[in-house]
């Protein structure tokens, strides 16, 4: 199963300041451990929200809101995607990450198609089937 590990942003990450060398080295070592254990699928840091934007949906209207975002809970500075056997294993890996200072790291399980299973509404299922039939027909026509 896959887990997304979310790292919250702070003033420093929002200012685009890179962590100091010591933390950088520690984080590199930690990432290397994840890779060597065969559990790391992807890991990325994010630019400050000043480089991002939001799209707001209301009715038919789309409103663009440029960064920076002001609410602290909206700030995400980076993420890992890991593949492990259980939530406990994900927790055990996150516990080893070199963080400090009261920071809280969020662990979320990624939904797989089979997790959705019967929860997928019948209309969506039918639409999916129609879509693949359509695609198949288009393929035939092109031949």
């Amino acid at each position: 199963m896959r887990f997304l590990i979310l790292v919250p942003g702070n003033e420093q990450s929002e200012a685009g300041v890179l962590p100091d060398e010591k933390i950088f080295i520690e984080m590199n070592k930690y990432n290397e451990e994840l890779v060597n254990a065969g559990v790391m699928l992807a890991a990325h840091g994010l630019h400050p929200t000043s480089k991002g934007a939001k799209v707001k949906f209301s009715g038919g209207k789309r409103t663009i809101i440029d960064g920076p975002f002001t609410e602290a809970k909206e700030l995400i500075a980076g993420f890992w995607l890991i593949e492990v056997k259980s939530k406990e294993e994900a927790i055990e890996w996150v516990k080893r990450a070199p963080f400090d200072g009261g920071v809280e790291i969020e662990i979320r399980q990624v939904q797989e198609a089979e997790d959705l299973g019967d929860a997928l509404p019948e209309e969506v299922r039918l639409a999916e089937q129609r879509m693949s039939a359509q695609m198949a027909a288009q393929r035939q026509q092109r031949k």
Partner: protein, 398 residues
């Protein structure tokens, strides 16, 4: 609460056990003894952690506990503990020991999953649909064989290295294939086993990063895994590659696979057997629609694979690729050369492919006979129905 603590201990075990066993084996010089010492430490953790909580450095705790007993043991055996060497080397020794040629293939698979994958005997038994006692027996016997054969806890000598590495890769790919195309049971796919194999492959790639074939194998497994979601139809049936909804392929795994293939090629390994198979898989992965597939390249890659590792199954696949690239007649020529191949005598895909090519050439009478023969050979019910349908269609047109 007690169950939570147990699950936490299990999680620590999965992360730490391989390194723990490898480190201990370095000290005591025997994988079987090392595994028992590690197990003892696990039992101690299961007793103590639910009370005391998981220690800050659980790996160090397990190692400390086990080492304590190891040193007792060494004193008793009047042996000097060798200096604790670099970790990566220990893990690599463990890999080579678990896949040692004195062991049967089944034993290698069980020992590798147990010692390197951190799987319990119960998990291995569930994955291979055999009784737990069978797995336990296999592991006990394997450890005894290693001890009796005086297999040293060492890296293979240089002249043997290539061959021994090939045996390790074979074990990992075997585990993967059992997950990807299960030979027993109701489920023909067991994704958990594929994940275990991928994890082992990625660990290996970290241990011997200069070996191109390790990256080739990882590439092959990543790309094949990328399709698992699309391989299963709504009622659980298998969907063939060209009929799959490519939108459901896992692009992350494809990218990882292509990157691993690039690493294999950068290290001069473009023509290793795993890298070649990965390159074929990559051709499919790169094609956004089935008809965009570069069949000429696939046919050329199969030519190279057939040179390197000739087998009737590779030849049959080559025939399909050649037919797609250069027309059904060219493919049929290869298929016909396989007609007397004893290894394919009961292999339903041979008449199935031949039937398909004959139908494309308008030779419907012959095609019908081949489809019927294929239907009588397959053990898979949905496939049998499909072949019977094709036989009936050929009969109508013939």
């Amino acid at each position: 609460m007690a169950i939570d603590a147990q699950r936490a201990v299990e999680a620590v075990w999965r992360i730490e056990s391989a390194r723990l066993i490898a480190g201990l084996a370095r000290i005591v010089g025997d994988v079987g003894v090392a595994e028992e010492l590690a197990q003892d430490a696990l039992v101690a953790a299961l007793e103590q952690w639910p009370e005391s909580g998981v220690p800050e450095k659980p790996g160090a705790w397990l190692m400390g506990t086990a080492k304590h007993r190891a040193i007792d043991l060494i004193r008793r055996n009047q042996r000097l503990g060798r200096k604790y060497e670099e970790l990566g080397d220990d893990l690599l020794r463990l890999v080579f020991t678990a896949c040692h040629p004195v062991l049967s293939t089944e034993a290698r698979v069980a020992l590798t999953l147990r010692l390197l994958g951190g799987l319990t005997s119960e998990e291995i038994a569930r994955a291979f649909l055999v009784p737990v006692a069978t797995v336990q027996q296999r592991i006990v016997r394997a450890k005894r064989t290693l001890t009796e054969a005086h297999v040293p806890f060492e890296l293979p000598p240089t002249p043997e290295l290539a061959e021994r590495l090939a045996s390790v890769l074979e074990v990992v790919y075997l585990i993967f294939n059992e997950g990807y195309a299960a030979t027993a049971g109701d489920d023909w796919m067991r994704p958990g086993l594929c994940e275990d194999a991928l994890r082992l492959g990625r660990i290996l790639a970290g241990l011997v990063p200069d070996e191109p074939e390790v990256h080739g194998l990882v590439a092959l497994m990543e790309i094949q895994s990328s399709r698992s979601r699309a391989r299963k139809g709504p009622s659980g049936e298998m969907v063939l590659l060209l009929d799959q909804d490519r939108g459901r392929w896992d692009q992350l795994l494809i990218r990882r696979g292509l990157a691993a293939l690039q690493r294999a090629e950068d290290r001069g390994g473009a023509f290793g057997p795993y890298a070649l198979q990965a390159a074929i898989a990559a051709c499919h992965a790169r094609a956004r629609r089935g008809e965009d597939t570069d069949w000429k390249r696939i046919a050329a890659l199969y030519d190279a694979l057939a040179e390197l590792a000739p087998s009737p199954v590779v030849e049959l696949n080559r025939a399909v690729a050649v037919a797609m690239a250069f027309g059904p007649a060219a493919g049929l020529e290869i298929v016909d050369s396989l007609a007397t191949e004893p290894a394919l005598g009961a292999y339903h895909l041979l008449p199935s492919v031949r039937g398909d090519l004959l139908a494309k050439l308008g030779r419907h009478g012959e095609a019908r006979a081949e489809f019927e023969r294929a239907a009588s050979l397959t053990r898979n019910e949905p496939e049998r129905r499909l072949l019977q349908k094709r036989a009936a269609a050929s009969a109508e047109r013939g």
